[in-house]
Subunit: 714 residues, 2 copies
Amino acid sequence: MKKILSIVCFSHLLALLSFGGNILKLESPDKNLICRIIVNDYDGKTGNLFYELDYKTRPVIKKSILGFNLSSPEIKLHSFDVVASTITTTDESWVPVWGETKLVKNNYRQLLLKLKTKDSIFINIVFRLFDDGLGFRYEFPAQPRLNHFIIADELTQFALTGNHKTFWIPGDYDTNEYPYNTTALAGVDASGSKFVQEIHTKTFFSKDAVQTPLMMKTAENLYINIHEAALINYPAMNLVIDKSSYELNAHLVPDAVGNKAYLLAPAKTPWRTIVVSDKATDILASKIILNLNEPSKIANTSWIKPQKFVGVWWEMHVGISSWDYSGSQVGSQQSTKVPHGANTANVKKYIDFAAANGIDAVLVEGWNTGWEDWFGKWKEDVFDFVTPYPDFDVKELAAYAKSKNVKIIMHHETSGSVTNYERWMDTAYRFMKNNNYNAVKSGYVGKIIPRGEHHDGQWMINHYLRAIEKAADYEIMVDQHEPVRPTGLHRTYPNYLACEAARGNEFNAWSVGNAPEHETILPFTRLMGGPMDYTPGIFKIKMSYYDSSKTNQVHTTLAKQLALYVTMYSPLQMAADLPENYNQRLDAFQFIKDVAVDWDDTKILEAEPGEYISTARKAKGTENWFIGAITDENTRNAVLSLNFLNTGQKYIATIYRDADKAHWKENPEAYLIEKFIVDAKTVLKLKLAPGGGCAVSLMPADAPAIKKIKAYKK
Amino acid sequence: MKKILSIVCFSHLLALLSFGGNILKLESPDKNLICRIIVNDYDGKTGNLFYELDYKTRPVIKKSILGFNLSSPEIKLHSFDVVASTITTTDESWVPVWGETKLVKNNYRQLLLKLKTKDSIFINIVFRLFDDGLGFRYEFPAQPRLNHFIIADELTQFALTGNHKTFWIPGDYDTNEYPYNTTALAGVDASGSKFVQEIHTKTFFSKDAVQTPLMMKTAENLYINIHEAALINYPAMNLVIDKSSYELNAHLVPDAVGNKAYLLAPAKTPWRTIVVSDKATDILASKIILNLNEPSKIANTSWIKPQKFVGVWWEMHVGISSWDYSGSQVGSQQSTKVPHGANTANVKKYIDFAAANGIDAVLVEGWNTGWEDWFGKWKEDVFDFVTPYPDFDVKELAAYAKSKNVKIIMHHETSGSVTNYERWMDTAYRFMKNNNYNAVKSGYVGKIIPRGEHHDGQWMINHYLRAIEKAADYEIMVDQHEPVRPTGLHRTYPNYLACEAARGNEFNAWSVGNAPEHETILPFTRLMGGPMDYTPGIFKIKMSYYDSSKTNQVHTTLAKQLALYVTMYSPLQMAADLPENYNQRLDAFQFIKDVAVDWDDTKILEAEPGEYISTARKAKGTENWFIGAITDENTRNAVLSLNFLNTGQKYIATIYRDADKAHWKENPEAYLIEKFIVDAKTVLKLKLAPGGGCAVSLMPADAPAIKKIKAYKK
C-alpha cells in the first residue's frame, strides 16, 4: 500500500506515523519543486529513508537514500520510524552586511522530520524547499542514547536521472585548484588528477569522485547544482559517481585515523543543497546557500569594508622579485636570483599607486622570515608571523601607509603547518593591530600539520573557522587561500570577505594556466559557495614580456580581465598587475578605479556554463551600474538590454571592449574604449573576441555630457 | 684481517681510515669499560658499523649494529666509510640548580666518529664512555645531500650476552603506567598489557617490546640499565627483544602516518645510554644521563624552588570529593555523588594546613570548568584553563594564599587534547601570573589530539618541551603527568621540576595498585631519567577507611610512605594525604615537615632492584641527613653504617619505623618513633616489616640533647 501525505502549511506536530510505506510531500512556494520523503519503502527495505525531487513535474533526483553509519557507537542510522513531521513556511528578506543585492529574499517551505531507530536513537532531518532548489540537513538532538559519536560514513545520495553534462574537478582531500573538465557523468575520470604537476599537495582517492559545487546540465536543458551550505564542524563532501546508475554518493574527507567526524549531540550536519532551474541565470542568482547559513554572529560590523587592493604579489609570480630575502623563491622556480619584493621602497611604490588611484589597500607577501625553507618538506616551525625581513620596515611602512590613507594587508602563509599557526595566531593578530593592519590574507600551501589531516577534513574545517572567529575578535578581515571550498559562511562571519579555494589567476603566470572557458565555469561551481579572491586585472597578458623564454600567458584578453570584476563577485578585488603596467594604460585602469565592490542590485543577464556570462550590478548607494560580459575560447555577440536602468534617466556608458582583431592568444592586449549615452531602452550589442570580454560602466549623465557624447546606436 | 686501533687521548683528526676491517677502541677513564667500534666487519657485511661494550673484561653488549633507514630521501644509513675519528677526554664538575648532590662529576672519554656513505651522506656518531657506562648519539651535520629527512627506522641494537633477569613494563606508544614485571628476557610477554584495565589509553604493538629505562641483572651479578638521554625533537625509543639471540632492537614511536622523525640537518638524536656496574648502588648513583644533557638554558634560575606541597587531589582519588562541579568525577567511578573538592573553603583549609606546617604550596585540581565531560571521548575543546567553577574564587584564594605565604599550584588537565592546550597555553600562563601562581601540574590523560599522534611520538616530545620552555618564559615551574618518560632534560630546563611518567601512588586508591616491590624498582627504571612526582605520604593506608566496601589499599606500611621521601628523589614532593589524616598523626608527619627536597649529598647505602633500597641524603645548606630504607613484600634487617656523618659530631637520630607487628597488608599503619644519639661510628640496624620501611632524620645534637637522649646501641 502506498500513501501520499500532502501536508500543507501547518506548524504543529503530526501524530506518530508508524504505519508502513509513507510518502511525505513538500512543495516549493511556487509549487514548481516537489520533494517527496519516502519512509518504509515499498521495495521491502523496511524503514529505510529516501527522498526525491521534481522540478516542474520532471524528476531531478530519483529515490535517494539518507542516513549514516557510525563507528562509535557502532550503529547504523538509516532505518527509522517517523516520530513526527512539521511543515512551516518562511517568507522574509534580510540585509546582508555586504553582497550582490541590498536585500536577500528568503522564501521556503520546511519539513522537519523527527525520526527514531529501533534502538531509540533520535535524529531529525530538515528539508527546506525554495523556488530554486532544496536544502536538507541532519540534526542529532541531545538524547540519552547518543552523546559523543563518530561518523564512519554519511550515506546521502543524489540519484540523477541520466548521463548529464558535468563541469567537474577531481575529488580530492587537499586541493580544489584543478582545471575544470566538461564531460558526461559517465565520462568522469578523476585519475588524471595525479598528473596535474602544478599542484603539489593533492590527495587522489577515487577515479569516480568529483568535488562540489558540481554543475550539471541535463539533456532536457535543466541546470542542476549540488553543493553544501554552512560547513561547520564537519568534513567537506566529495561525490562518488556510480556510472551505471548515475547515483552520486557522499564521500566525506577522513581524518588522520580514517574517521569522518567527531560529533557531540546536539549536533547538525551542513546542509546538502540542490539548486535547479531551466535557466542557467537562475543558478547564478540563487541565494539558497546564503539563506541556509545563519545571520551574522558579529554584532558590530562597522569595521568590515569591501575593498580593492594592489599588492607585492604578481611580481613574484612572474618571476621578477622573490618572496624570500635570498631571492630564489618565485612563482616558478628559476635559477637566476631576483631582488626581494617586500622591501620598504617597493612597498611604498605600491602605497603611492594605491593612494593615487583610490585603491584601498596594499597586500605584501614575503615580508616575514622563513621563505628560504618553507615549502614541500612537511616542516612544522616555518614562520612566526611577526619577524620581518631586515629590508621590510614595519613601523615606517605603517606610518607611511597611514599618512596616505592606505591600509596594508597582512600576509600569513602557514605553509600548511597549522599547529604552528595556531600557536602564533593570537600573537600574530596582536602584531597586526599594533601596526594598523585590519585584514589578513592567509595561505595553506602544502601538506597539513597535524600530519595525516587534510585541508578539507573536519579538523581543518574547524581551524578555518577558528581563524575567522579569532580574527573577528581583533576586528580583522580575512581572505583565506588554499582553504576548503566555501559554503556561504560569509553570511554568518562577514569578516570572512573572500577566499581562494579554486584555481586562481596566478596559475596563468607559471603553468599551463586556466583555459579561456575557466572564468565562465567558476561562477557556476566554486563561486556558488562564496566570493573568490581570483586576482583579476592582468594587463600584461604574456609572460614573455618579463622573460622572452616563457610561453605562459593569461588565457583571456585584457578587456576580459576588466569584465571579471563584475562577473566574478567578490567584496575583495585585487588589481593584480604591477603599478608600472597599469600606469602604461591608465585609460583601461579607469574601469578598475570606477568599479564597485559592494552592490545594491545584481542582474545575471545571460549565462551558460563553460560558454559565457554577462552580469550587470548596481554599485552600493549610487545610481551607477557596471556590466561584465565574458566568453570562452569562442567569439560572441552579447546582446544586452539595459532595461534594468531607471526609466527616463540618461547614462554615460563607457565601454571597454576587445579591439576588433583581439584574440586571447594572438592579440590579447588590444582593447578599445568608447563612450555613449544610453538609457533603459538601449540594447547593447557587444562583440567579444575569442577568449574575450567587455566591461561597461553606466553612470548618470548630466546635461552637458548628454550634449557632448553621442547616443548609442547599433 | 682484524686490526685494533688503540687511540688514547688526542684531540686532532685522524687521517681517513679507508682500509677494511677496522676496530676502534675507547676506554673509560678508569679503564674498566671498553667500547669497540667495528667498521667493515670481518663477517663480510662490507661497511656495516657495530659497537661492543665490555665491563671489567666481561662482555656487556655484543656486536650490535648502528644506523638508520630513511623514508625521505629513501636511503639506508648503515654502511659507511670512516672519514675521521677523534678521541678527547673531559673531566669536570658542575653545579646543578637543584639535585641530589652539590656538584656533579662529569668524567668521560669521547670518540667522535665521522662517517660517510658511498653516496656522500655524512653522519657522525659520538661515543662517551664514563666509568659507569656508555652514551652514544648520532649527529647529522649540515651537508649538501641531506637537508630535510625522515627517519623510517633507527637500527640501533643492544645485543645482550644472555637471558638476563629483567625488570620491565610493556612497550607502548601512549603510557608508562604499567606495573613492573620481573622475568628473564626470554620470558617477556607484553601482550598482557591489553588486559591492564586501569589504564585507559594504551597502545600495544608487540608482545616482545619493553620500555626504557630497562633494568637487567646478569647471571654474573652485573647490573645493566638501558635508556636514553636528552630526548629532544625525536620519538621515544622502545626495545623489541629477539628472544633467540637476546638482541634488543630500537623501535621508535611512530607518528600519525607511520613516520618516526622529521629532521632537518644539522640534527642530533638523543643519546642511547648503557649504565653498567657490578654494584646495584652504582646504577642509582649514576649521573650519566644528567651529564649527557646540556647545561641550563635558563639564565636566571632564582625563581626555581624545590618544594613540598599538599593538595586537593587525594580526596578525589579516594572518592570523597569530585573534580567536577556536579560531583560525579572521582578516582574510581561510583554512583553516589560527592561534593566538589575545589571549593574556596576547602582550598583555604589546605592553605591553612600548609601554612601551619611549613609546606610551600597547595595543588588544586578540578578548579576549572570542563570536568563533567572530559574523559575518554577524544573530545577536542574540553578545558579553557581560565574559567573557574563558580565555587572557586580565584581572586579571593590568591589573596588568601599570599597572606599565608603559601603558593597555589595551578592544574592544567589537557585531557590529551594538545591542539586545544597549545591554543590556550599563552593565555593560561598569563592567567597564572596574574593570579600569583608560579607552578603548574599539567596532565595528559587520554588519546592525543592531533588524532593519530601518540604520547611518546616526536610531535608530543616537542610539545612537552614547548610547554616547559614557554613556562620558563613566564617563570613558571612545571610538573607534567602522563608525559613521555624523562631523559634528564631537567638539567637543561631546571623549571621542569618533576613529572609522573610511571605508575604513581594513586593507582593504590582505586585499582589493583602497586605491589610492595614497586618502589624498589622505580628508582632503577623510571627515575633513571629524572625526578618523579610519585605523591607519597599516605597515612590512611586502606580505602575501607573511606568506604567499607572498598578493598583497595596502599601496598606499603605507613613508615615506608615516609621513607619514600628519601628513596624516591624529587625536588617536588607531595604530602598526598588529607590534612585531617595528618592532623591525627602529627608525630609521624614531623618527618615530612623536616625532610628536605634539595640536597648537598646523596649516598646509596644498599640497593637491589625489586628487593630493597636504603639511601641517605644531606639536606641542602645544612648538616642534617635523612635516611630512607624500604623493602619489598619481605621483611628485612637493614644494617646501615652512618660513616658518612661528620667525624666527631653527635647527631639526634629520629627513627620512624614499622612497629614490631607491622605488615603492609595486615597492619600497615603501626609505626614507632624513637630518638637516639648517634655518630659516624654508629651502625643502625633497622627492621623493616613486610612491605615496610624506615625513615630517619639525623640532626646535629647540642650538649643538652646529648645529655637527655640516650645513645644508639644495638
